[in-house]
Amino acid sequence: MRAPRQRSIDVARLNDDNLVRARELIALYPVKRSALIPVLHLLQEQDGYLSPDGLAHVAELFELTAAEVRGTASFYDMFFLEPVGRYVVAVCTNIACMLAGAYELLDHIEKRLEVSAGGTTADGSFTLEDAECLALCGNAPCLTVNWRYFGDMTPGRWETLAEDLLAGRLADEVPPHGTLNRVRRTVGLPARAPASDGAEVTGSRGKAGAQTSAKRQASSSLDKAGPLDHAGHAVQLATSRSTAAVGSILAPGGSPRGAAGDGEATGDAP
């Protein structure tokens, strides 16, 4: 049921823009390897999954073996080592959601998509996951689509959601799979290296290291703060269709389930 496996030759290494972003990430840490997980997220944002070529490129960038990089990546549930669908749907079935009917919801979605949890639909639209607690238990049962949250789900609401996704009506709120953070860091001080024990310091050796060093110097001039990135990139931080966790904080007399989104909240807090 998986999407046809892409041949690795089709998959790029980190492209030039992402290579710049990767070096920016590396410059944030006193020890280079700390940027490995953020850079793997970047790779997944680019390709939708972690391809063998991509992992090899990241290994090169970090002066690690491909096995070390893969070994790290395989520990984490969010990293996919095989291609996935356009929308990764993670249905929480842990205790709070289970008590609210999560298994019935998952069962419904499995039947509608004709795929079992863990699989990808034949057309490559959806990958379905049976997930652990996603921390939206006030709006159980919940699911995420490409890590954007949808709470108080029912089989009926899933139908609407799936239609809207496929029709592209949620493009603002649900970016392509792999996109974790659309707000770019525009500011910062250079990382401070650890002191004594001979630990590797960013940019201490190698070609990539030298470039990183230069990048670090550049980043130190950023601390005056740049333009507000989310304004420039029109990232919508309010939610309209997806569910914001902050809506689960309740005030006396406040709506128990909050509004559909928090973009229109009117300031009735204490």
């Binding site: 840490y29 020890v31 390897r33 997980i37 953020p38 990546a73 520990f75 984490y76 549930d77 969010m78 990293f79 993670a90 079935t93 842990n94 205790i95 709070a96 008590l99 998952l106 949890a117 863990g118 049976d130 652990e132 607690c133 996603l134 921390a135 238990c137 490409n146 954007r148 974790l180 659309r182 707000v183 770019r184 860091r185 525009t186 500011v187 910062g188 001080l189 401070r192 650890p194 002191a195 630990a199 601390d223 703060a225 740049g226 507000l228 990135d229 989310h230 990232v235 931080l237 914001a244 966790a245 902050v246 809506g247 904080i249 309740l250 005030a251 006396p252 909240a265 300031g267 807090a269």
Partner: protein
Amino acid sequence: MTTTGPTGAKLGPYVISSRFGLKQSWGIETYLAHEGYEGLRKALAMTPEDVHQATLASSILGRGGAGFDAGRKWGMVRKAKPVYLVVNGDESEPATFKDHAIMEGDPHQLIEGILTCAYATGADQVFLYVRGEMALAHERLQAALNEAYAYGAIGRNILGSGYSVDIVIHPGAGAYICGDETGMLESLEGKRGYPRIKPPFYPAVMGLYGAPTVVNNVETLSNLPWIMRNGSDAFSALGEGRSRGTKILSLSGHVRRPGNYEVEFAKLTFRDLIYDTKLGGGIREDRELKAIIPGGASSPWFGPDHLDLSLANEAIAEAGSMVGSGAITIMDETTCTVRAAWRITRFFHRESCGQCTPCREGSGWAEKVMRRIEDGEGREADLDLLMDICDNISPGVVWPPAQTTICPLGPSIPSPVASAIRLFRDEFLDHIRQGLCPFPPDRLQTSPAYA
């Protein structure tokens, strides 16, 4: 049956959640219009030592689950440079959803709290480890950080004080175990999130890159701006005993109004929380209460006989469980407790990192035996077998549990298993004798991929 109605319980005061619900509560304009960064200004006018003393005097305990005294933790930092501050925003304990709301709802308050802690502990750099799945929290936190730089509240010469520090938002990638502080440090070093062997016991002595490291939870640090503005006496005047200030309680399960409630610590009982109309609003469809999970999936359960227990660290510990992360899950009479306990056991099995045998093997065995009982294929001897597995994971199956593994995940596995068997033995026997689950649906559909 307990009726729903006002119990006299009060919400608030709002130490952490005062801005939640305001329009654009995550933006700096809203924050500055509501006392934003005033606590930090006060802190920066004091010496770091005085800020530390004020935190000690507030008696705030860590809100991540272990309840360690925050001020004392800061005092344990080894005298060496550099010092790192790592903020734990990897909220993954089942049924806990407070940090998620805090990070989305008031990221500036968290940043202000972090900077206050960084100043007091002399931190040279801060890493804010945010659970990977929480994409909106990542975006709002990064936007807030960019705004805070523009405002001058972070970076070089913070608010003209001469103090400089930077915060890096670091994404997790989906692993419960990275909520353990040493697992988190490994993850932050770009490795698999294996918790570290102790000693050294405290990251304050040897943490990130071997340097002294303060690790605090998101909710803990979000209290600091209020404490700085209003004074530690005002904070410690709230609550009682070892439970001071307020606590955000994450209420989930079969109540009418599941959600996060900020309440004065140690002033409410479970009855207030579940049945008060301003709080849980009673059990859905006025059904009977069956069981309470008082402090996240790792905590032993209570039955209805504990309804009048105070929601305080001491009272709950004395009764054999914990406040933990403040996550309270309510199960009504229609709940199959075998299935509920199995689901939590399955969680531990999936999330065990695999380093320690009792946890890696025990979680898998317990899950399989629980599952066969739920599927109607159990044997009466399975109950003793399950308790024996629990005893092998954590000898005595007592609370607090005996530690046999590197981190506390392993010894948490017996909590749901032993709780369910001790409280609902007959229900297990019904499954076994009837050869099916007596609660609908009698067969749990789960995907072959994970069955």
